[in-house]
């Protein structure tokens, strides 16, 4: 398979793939679901390339992926979860790499609705401002804020629920 030239549309998408992979995995509950979402997104992006206005390709693709996730993945079978594997090796200075805490956080995130998770991940993983999230999801900024608030509250509750391990707080 020939690698597309960097200046072509395919080449630009190819360059975005690593960060798109991270975002798709942050939305989904397993590695396999993450790869599926990524593939569905790339397929859609390639067929809709004519609709791209030539600005902010990354933002355009992220919106397509988020919408695919919100619209298409609801009601998908929730069994067969695969544990996080790729993230285990990475250095994380602020957060203890305790696998149990990671698993608890993963579990807490998996308890979020698609709508709440998408807002949280756009802010946290993609570094979107609240108004960018509002524009990307086509929702009022007040809705962005209430979803973000609920998502964080829910994650905090799940993490505290059995009160065995909580995330260490930075001083």
């Amino acid at each position: 398979m020939k690698t597309p030239a960097p200046e072509t549309f395919e080449g630009q998408i190819l360059a975005l793939l690593p960060s798109l992979r991270r975002y798709s995995r942050s939305l989904t509950r397993s590695d396999a679901d993450g790869e599926d979402l990524l593939q569905d997104c790339v397929e859609k992006v390639l067929t809709r390339r004519g609709q791209w206005r030539g600005l902010n390709l990354r933002g355009w693709v992220l919106t397509i992926m988020t919408n695919l996730y919100r619209n298409g993945r609801r009601g998908k079978a929730r069994d067969g979860l695969v544990e996080l594997d790729a993230a285990v090796e990475l250095a994380a200075p602020d957060v203890p790499a305790d696998p149990q805490e990671r698993a608890r956080l993963d579990d807490a995130l998996n308890s979020l609705s698609e709508e709440h998770r998408a807002v949280l991940m756009l802010v946290v993983i993609e570094g979107y401002t609240y108004s960018e999230v509002a524009a990307a999801l086509d929702i009022p900024i007040g809705t962005v804020m209430s979803r973000l608030s609920r998502a964080r509250q829910r994650v905090a509750e799940r993490l505290k629920a059995d009160n065995i391990i909580t995330l260490r707080r930075p001083k």
Partner: protein, 260 residues
């Protein structure tokens, strides 16, 4: 929090936790948090969530070997099938020259592309047999242990619903596996079988809109025998270095088992 300080909203605290505030606003929130330990604990919790989430998924920001394939799905690439067709055509000409010398003059008189499918099919089948049946370790792409997958995959590429791979056990031939290959410049399927003596035969299937239904036909070059027929848009060819009688039985069995 709005009760204790109306000028600081929860939205401000989120923006602070997410690093979305300008410097002056940050200082104002920090002063507020210094006096409000509950809110400070909440903001710290959110920040811990943020770094936990980033750390959880950071490892996924990586390339994979298959990334280039991802941006070039088969149907989005128009040049690949063409290249394959060109290669197949070149291979065909080469094989004809090498093996079936008596076809060569006809080829030069009449351009290959003008041959009707019923004429090109047996030659493509012979070429495929010669190229692949001789392979010891890699005769097929997908082996018989994944027969269901093979049928689904090639059925999809050929647009044949419920493609059934013929079972030739009764004639002493077991499925080795199959592969995708160009037939008339389009995706085609080849299935390979082997008997206990190690003799192989191949079954080629190709779709061509210009196909015209034919009866069974027979082609022979050197020791290689091919039976072929066209049924609607689908062309079939059975090729092997086995007796013509055995090959005819195989062809009839395939004809029976392939859906019409």
């Amino acid at each position: 929090m709005n009760d204790t300080n109306p000028s600081v909203t929860e939205a401000d605290l989120h923006a602070y936790a997410d690093g979305q505030l300008p410097e002056t606003a940050r200082a104002r929130i920090e002063a507020f948090l210094a006096d409000n330990p509950d809110e400070a604990a909440m903001v710290a919790e959110w920040q811990a969530q943020n770094s936990g989430i980033r750390s959880l998924f950071a490892g996924y920001e990586k390339t994979k070997e298959t990334d280039a394939l991802l941006v070039s799905p088969p149907r989005a690439v128009s040049s690949a099938p063409k290249r394959a067709a060109i290669a197949a055509a070149a291979l065909l000409v080469f094989a004809l020259g090498a093996v079936s010398g008596h076809y060569a003059p006809a080829l030069f008189e009449k351009p290959e592309l003008q041959l009707a499918a019923s004429e090109t099919l047996p030659k493509q089948a012979e070429t495929a047999f010669m190229v692949y049946a001789a392979e010891v370790r890699h005769p097929v792409e997908v082996f018989a242990n994944e027969e269901a997958h093979l049928a689904t995959w090639l059925g999809k590429r050929l647009a044949i619903e419920n493609l059934k791979i013929p079972n030739l056990q009764a004639l002493g031939f077991k499925l080795v596996g199959g592969r995708l290959l160009p037939v008339d410049g389009r995706p085609g399927a080849m299935f390979m079988y082997e008997n206990q003596a190690g003799e192989r035969l191949t079954v080629l299937v190709g779709r061509n809109k210009e196909n015209r239904t034919t009866s069974f036909r027979f082609a022979s070059s050197d020791n290689l025998e091919t039976f072929y027929w066209i049924d609607g848009e689908l062309g079939y060819a059975v090729t092997g270095e086995i007796s013509r009688d055995m090959l005819r039985q195989v062809a009839e069995e395939c004809y029976r088992q392939f859906p019409s």
